[in-house]
Amino acid sequence: MIDLNTADILETIHMIDEEHLDIRTITMGISLLDCADSDIDRACERIYEKIVRKAEHLVKTGEDIEREYGIPIINKRISVTPIAMLLAASGGDPVKYAKALERAAKEVGANYLGGYSALVQKGFAAGDEALIRSIPEALTVTDHVCSSVNIGSTKAGINMDAVALMGQIIRECAEKTADRECVAASKLVVFCNAVEDNPFMAGAFHGAGEADCVINVGVSGPGVVRTALAKMPDANITDIAKAVKRTAFKITRVGQLVATEASRRLDVPFGIVDLSLAPTPAVGDSVAHVLEEMGLEQCGAAGTTACLALLNDAVKKGGVMASSHVGGLSGAFIPVSEDAGMIDAAKSGCLTIEKLEAMTAVCSVGLDMIAVPGDTPADVLSGIIADEAAIGMVNSKTTAVRIIPAIGKQPGEELEYGGLFGSAPIMPVNTASPAKFIARGGRIPAPLQSLKN
């Protein structure tokens, strides 16, 4: 060959063909601030028109890049300005916005559209509470729209009124779609320290500090990391960390290439690459299996948090040099229903919600795609949200809760989504009541950022 190494070429092809290396998403972030109007119908029309205009070629461009570079690009998505900001100007029925977003997503062929969101970490502004209360209806009447609510941050503390409300909203989402595997709850994320440039669903939105339109890319590749580790069964942990870094670098370079190319072809600025190990339910594409490859009998065993901390840190160290702009959530994801190894571990009882909570202290992002018994009370859901937000707030990191009360189901059963969402075994929950704590309302003050012990 003239200037390429045969082994390198075969390695790349093997990663794609055998180890599930893919670009998880190209997400176009679109600001809708210039669509705000005091008339909600006019605002909806403007939103539709702008999204369709900006994202007209998004799907086609993604498909072209996929064919030419030979790398699968699984999703083409859109994130928009939190809709609560537009609702503040227009008032009216927020679900009209959800329908306009759905129409636009369908028109351009996007897989998901995120941004039916409100940021209420310090309190509710005009539009925020109305939007939050409309989430169950909005996610029931749409298929592509995703919603998120930021209820806390390291700088603002935790809005406990919002925490209490979100427990109820999650239950309502599940109840309204009980005949469809409670799917509405799977499209809703509750955040602490939400990021403004996240390309991943369901938590993507286009922050107010972002440019008018940007391209963000999220990569994947747990299968590639696992294969790299499988080749070194007797290596010590220093070498394991090195191997993860080296692999993450290669994965991220592909993300950077696709992001740059999509940005050039669409004539939209490149935003960030999200350095993520995002699993899929396919065998061989599991973060849990990476942890098990490090030497755990099963994910959830003692040592799991330490293995995940190593993995998460090494992914960032390897990835950060491979991209000119890193952002989003960046880290290993542990969505239970979307990860074959996590599903097995949850079914066997080795992986519990409490262990997952500990794991979220060291990884991106939080309690993700977890199904709990259908009779779990709203205040217990709020308690789980508060715990998870506290971990994020104190550790200055993003944490999130995407939890699904499986209406009418108990541990031992499961929710079956198919596709990327996989299947969620119902996990038992500690139902001792936090009702009084949740009902108090108010705010948890922002934590001290010194005296760190």
């Binding site: 060959m1 003239i2 045969t6 390198d8 070429i9 075969l10 790349t12 092809i13 030419e68 040099m321």
Partner: protein, 89 residues
């Protein structure tokens, strides 16, 4: 633009001829070739120029892949940049 074509399959007479003819018929210029036999498996990498190709690269990649399947070969045609970016700093 440059692309890399990889061909893997059981070694038989004429694989190189078939693939290079396929390229020539579409005006794809071969710049470099590396080929080896690994345990009865024919394994070839070609670096090609797509500048004068008669059809868009995406179409060419799909066509050569199908051509490979018809001939019991696994053929990939991919933009060279994916290898450059993954393995070069």
């Amino acid at each position: 633009m440059r692309a890399v074509i990889t061909v893997v399959g059981k070694d038989t007479v004429g694989i190189f001829a078939k693939v290079s003819t396929f390229c020539a018929e579409r005006n794809v210029n071969i710049l470099g070739v590396s080929q080896t036999i690994l345990e009865d498996m024919f394994c070839m990498m070609m670096q090609v120029s797509m500048d004068d190709c008669d059809i868009p690269f995406g179409e060419f990649a799909d066509a050569i892949k199908s051509y490979g399947l018809e001939n019991d070969l696994v053929i990939h045609a991919m933009h060279e940049d994916i290898f450059n970016s993954m393995h070069r700093i």
